[in-house]
């Protein structure tokens, strides 16, 4: 089980959290004027990085807040957590 450092509450066990998928996806607006390729990219394409990966978590059984994290998907260690709306921190180059 992961120990997840919530930026509001500190380290808590994974069962308190829900995973929110990849972070920093921007919804193209307005959807009705977007072509199929762009809309398909937004709906379905994910980086699926091997290495540093930015993702959303929600401390659902805790403070209830969403936040973002950078996790190394080859080790599952968290490299950084930061609040929603903040830019991702500068990190070493991704592994793949």
């Amino acid at each position: 089980m992961l120990l997840i450092p919530c930026p509001y509450c500190g380290e808590r066990p994974e069962i308190e959290f829900t995973h929110g998928g990849e972070a920093h996806l921007i919804r193209p607006a307005p959807p009705s004027s977007v072509d199929d390729v762009t809309w398909g990219q937004f709906l379905y394409m994910r980086a699926n990085s091997k290495g540093a990966y930015t993702e959303r978590w929600r401390h659902a059984r805790g403070c209830g807040k969403f936040f973002n994290a950078v996790r190394d998907t080859t080790t599952d260690f968290f490299l950084a957590v930061y609040k929603s709306g903040e830019p991702p921190p500068a990190l070493p180059v991704q592994v793949a």
Binding site: L2, I15, R46, N48, T73, T75, D76
Partner: protein
């Protein structure tokens, strides 16, 4: 290379010589500088594709490149369940193509894959489950696939350890039974395909990780860089499961895949106690008993994407809670080991067997949590796609463009759960 033929007589004869005259079942091939086609990924799907390319399409100058050892990825990590009771016509055709091939696979390969059609039973625990499962039963029967509805007492007759009392958290309200479903020995599938492909001249190259995909001036594939040198080929098939995103990135191809850990566990070996396969999508558990006697138990995926081949214990505990309620007789059985694999999941939980935008590059991926059952059919159709440079009618709907055009084959919505 002539291979030793397996039969009851050959077993008896070699027993007389104390089993000292058996040969290795495939060569330890060294990579050649050039092949007609390369398959990246030495699991059942990849080895099978090489076998069918050689057997049915006359392409014998082929290599299978495996970064570890063959069958060491998801082929050796799954819970070996085989069934074809999928809702949509496209999926039904695809998975039943595979079940029909399973029925003859041992004879075709001359290798006992221990395919056992012991029946797969899917439980209903809520009114919604009953409606969804009956819809599946009717849809399957329209597609010529056997599936039947059982009342709780009938389910208990078929699977005596099942608890059908009304006082558990999610009581069993009925079940769907596919009698043609069952299990097979996963290692034997990889070994059987490897042995049969090798006999047709296919080079199986282990410990050979692909580190780059080379393209020529026109953009078509020209070969691969590997940890064992450069290998040229005009056709490359990627069958790399959880690492498909990583391999395709080398050619600049991006697919809608996410890689999740999926765990399974086995108990200590027991005497035969469990006659079939039981699955419950609602409470996330599936269980069968291997011929070795272990209860083989599978869970859902972990919540987050990862490449670590391990997951969290609470996922397994959640599954064991369900198993203990459904089968109280197993409450004191000790679990022997657990493990994880990395599965590549598509948004609609249906696979992709298709050409990519790069000429000469083909992909067979997105099998998610249920690829083992499809091994022969998937390999057969992937070989067809590579050989003919166009998809077979069965796998034509499983293309990449469906995510742009919105023509999903949404088994995720149909089952409301990973499967």
């Amino acid at each position: 290379m002539s291979r030793q033929y397996f039969s009851a007589f050959s077993l008896f004869r070699r027993a007389l010589s104390r089993h000292r005259s058996w040969q290795p079942q495939w060569r330890k091939a060294e990579p050649k500088p050039q092949y007609d086609a390369i398959i990246i990924g030495g699991g059942g799907h990849g080895l099978g594709a090489a076998y069918y390319l050689a057997k049915e399409h006359g392409l014998t100058n082929i290599a299978v490149l495996e970064k570890g050892w063959i069958g060491g990825g998801n082929t050796g990590r799954n819970t070996t369940i085989i069934r074809s009771n999928y809702l949509f016509n496209e999926s039904a055709a695809l998975y039943d193509h595979s079940v029909k091939m399973w029925e003859h696979l041992s004879q075709v390969l001359n290798y006992n894959v221990m395919f056992s059609q012991r029946g797969v039973m899917m439980l209903a625990h809520t009114v919604h489950d009953i409606q969804v499962i009956k819809r599946h039963v009717h849809a399957n029967r329209c597609n010529g696939i056997d599936n039947e509805w059982l009342e709780p007492e009938e389910a208990k007759d078929f699977c005596p350890p099942l608890n059908i009392s009304g006082n558990i958290r999610y009581p069993v309200l009925g079940a769907a039974l596919q009698r043609r479903g069952g299990t097979a020995r996963h290692d034997a599938v990889a070994w059987g395909y490897a042995r049969a492909a090798d006999a047709l001249g296919v080079d199986i190259i282990e410990n050979c990780e692909v580190t780059g995909i080379r393209r020529d001036a026109s953009g078509a594939v020209a070969g691969v860089d590997t940890t064992r040198g450069v290998i040229q080929a005009k056709k490359i098939g990627v069958s790399a499961a959880g690492h498909t995103s990583v391999v395709l990135k080398m050619a600049g191809v991006h697919l809608p895949l996410e890689s999740f850990p999926l765990q399974a566990l086995v108990s200590e070996p027991l005497k035969p106690a469990f006659p079939c396969v039981v699955m419950s999508n609602t409470i996330h558990a599936y269980i069968s008993q291997s011929d070795k006697g272990e209860l083989v138990i599978g869970a859902g995926t972990d919540a987050y994407t990862s490449y670590t081949q391990r997951g969290a214990l609470h996922i397994n505990l959640h599954t064991l809670d369900a198993i203990c309620e459904l089968f109280p007789a197993f409450r004191r059985v000790r679990m022997l080991r657990n493990w994880g694999g990395i599965v590549d999941v598509t948004p609609d939980r249906s696979p992709i067997i298709a050409k990519t935008p790069v000429p000469g590059l083909y992909v067979n991926c997105g099998w998610g949590t249920g690829g083992f059952k499809a091994t022969p059919g998937s390999a057969h159709l992937f070989a067809w796609t590579i050989a003919n440079d166009e998809p077979h009618p069965i796998n034509a709907p499983f293309n990449i463009e469906r995510f742009r055009d919105g023509i999903l084959i949404d088994e995720a919505a149909a089952a409301a759960v990973a499967h």
